[in-house]
């Protein structure tokens, strides 16, 4: 339905369509009901009744439309409840009078039916007028009430929509900020490691400085782009893990299992890096004898599945504080790739934690 030739309806024209739909259907149903009553109950000739009813209700529609424009022009919708209420009553009475008179005058075929109760003949006509006027007044008042109720509901809906849009924009801003935050613990530990290498193994120290520079540069510039290829991110993850290996020595062993076609897939920048940092911080670093960090990537049924697996300490030792970083990652994935994407933490195996990232390739 939304194509270049058929632009989606704008807010204003949508309001227009809604209003006229409700108007015509509302008055239409009202007219049909009365027609039914006139023909079935009062046994009036339907053609004539139809014509008269259409005239009368057409007048009703015109009056209500006029009222609505008046209310719009004078900003009634901004009024407090009390102000609005007496205005509705006044408008109903004021316009109900001419409408009622019109109805009375067009009623040549006794549409109304007999008066309830007995009245002196001289009173019949004035009473009929009065009743018609009251009827019309109440009708218009009801009409106005419904109008303002519908208006209020629509306002509420659009306010809610704006609210959630703002919330979403804020979230994205926060996530962007989080992405570019340096990990000071990693930074200072790495510098300390480099310094110790300068005396022991100068060439290794040099390569460590290069890797550190790469990692930091990547982190700092990650605010710019939202997506990178898996291959690009893996380069940095490799540099980072090399540095961490120097810190932990034999406590950290790394294994990669990346399927050939997976490298070109686009993933959110710093996502894998954050998950790997987490795996080191809460896994390897917490274990006296360390373990194996395993990174794997494969395309399964048009979904990129990235896994980071690390050993973890038994739950009694540390409270699981893995919360925020991974929850943010999950949120980011859903925002970028839809509901089928996400990150979940699989702790079903006893001493192992597996973070699993799923990115569907086509929506």
């Amino acid at each position: 339905m939304n194509s270049p030739d058929h632009p989606p309806p704008t807010g204003q024209s949508r309001t227009h369509i809604l209003y006229w739909t409700l108007q015509l259907s509302g008055w239409g149903v009202y007219t049909l009901l009365r027609l039914y009553a006139a023909v079935a109950v009062l046994n009036l000739p339907w053609m004539r009744a139809a014509v008269e009813l259409l005239l009368v209700d057409g007048a009703g529609l015109a009056f209500s439309h006029g009222l609505r424009n008046f209310a719009r022009h004078h900003g009634w919708s901004a009024l407090p409840l009390r102000g609005l209420t007496w205005r509705i009553v006044a408008a109903g009475l004021l316009l109900g009078t001419p409408l009622g008179i019109i109805i009375q005058l067009t009623d040549l075929s006794g549409l109304q039916g007999p008066l309830p109760g007995d009245y002196a003949p001289a009173l019949v006509l004035p009473i009929q007028y009065l009743l018609n006027i009251l009827n019309s007044a109440i009708l218009l008042m009801i009409w106005l009430t419904i109008y303002f109720i519908v208006l209020a509901m629509r306002r509420h809906r659009s306010a809610e929509l704006r609210q959630s849009e703002l919330a979403r924009a804020l979230q994205l801003a926060e996530l962007r900020l989080l992405k570019t935050q340096l990990n000071p613990h990693f930074l200072f530990n790495a510098l300390n490691t480099v310094r110790s290498l300068i005396a022991d193994d100068p060439s290794r120290a040099q390569s460590a400085v290069t890797r550190l520079a790469n990692t930091l540069r990547y982190t700092l510039s990650s605010g710019q782009d939202e997506l990178v290829t898996l291959a690009q991110e893996l380069e940095i993850v490799a540099d980072y893990l090399e540095l961490e290996s120097m810190r932990f020595e034999e406590r950290l062993r790394v294994e990669y299992d990346v399927a050939p076609g997976a490298g070109v897939v686009y993933i959110p920048v710093m996502l894998l890096q954050t998950v790997v940092e987490n795996a080191i911080k809460h896994g390897i670093a917490e274990l006296p004898s360390g373990g194996v960090l395993r990174i794997s990537a494969a395309l399964r049924d048009d979904v990129l599945v990235l896994e980071v697996q690390n050993p973890r300490p038994p739950p009694a030792m540390r409270a699981a504080r893995e919360g925020i970083g991974l929850r943010n990652a999950d949120e980011r994935l859903r925002l970028l790739f839809g509901a089928r994407a996400g990150l979940d933490l699989d702790m079903s195996q006893p001493a192992i934690a597996t973070a699993r990232i799923r990115i569907p390739q086509h929506r």
């Binding site: 613990h185 930074l187 200072f188 300390n192 110790s196 005396a199 670093a285 274990l287």
Partner: protein
Amino acid sequence: MKVIIIDDEPPARRELRRLLADFSWMEIVGEAGNVAQAAAMIEALSPELIFLDIQMPGGSGFDLLAGLDHLPQVIFTTAHDEHAVRAFEVNALDYLLKPIDPARLTAALARVKNANAVRTPQPEAVLEQLFVRDGPRCWFVPLREVRLLTSEGNYVRLSWGKTQPLLGRALATLEQRLDSNRFFRANRRQIINLDFIENVELGVNGRLHVQLREGPEVEISRRQARLFKTQMGI
């Protein structure tokens, strides 16, 4: 001075070793990579000073200290730990940030040297001070300033100045290491510091009521009251 370096990262230990080579009076008697190793080493070698990394696998530096009977002097090290650093500053504990600045190391070691001179040598069995951590706050508590120790299940509540820190040990185990000239078991749940007694009153049934300076009134049980009188020469 005997020193042990405790850090889970070998390069960090090597780096500190390299820095300490400039101080001839530092004798590095051991290195440990986790809390268990460190505790065993400290018990075995009785160092006078330890360099202690806060973040370690299987238990933090604080956990190590809380479990030690003999507390050496401690200089904490950390690459970056906002909470720990704040705790250190508030409690005037000594710490160094990694990579360690040689100038700061020199200053810290000078402080250690001075503190050592002031310390009175104690016989091995008696506890002089305890490392206590209560949430974000931590102290080295000199036991002679503790007026009351109260058992709370598997823990001990210390009454020290205006604070009531909780210690993760049972009263019974603690009791054996206390100076018996200073501390007296008043009843099943409480041990009092005799230096803090303001006055003593006779109670019913042979019990005694002791008022502690700045502290509560403690009841000495009938059985202990007899011992108390003997010990105090009444």
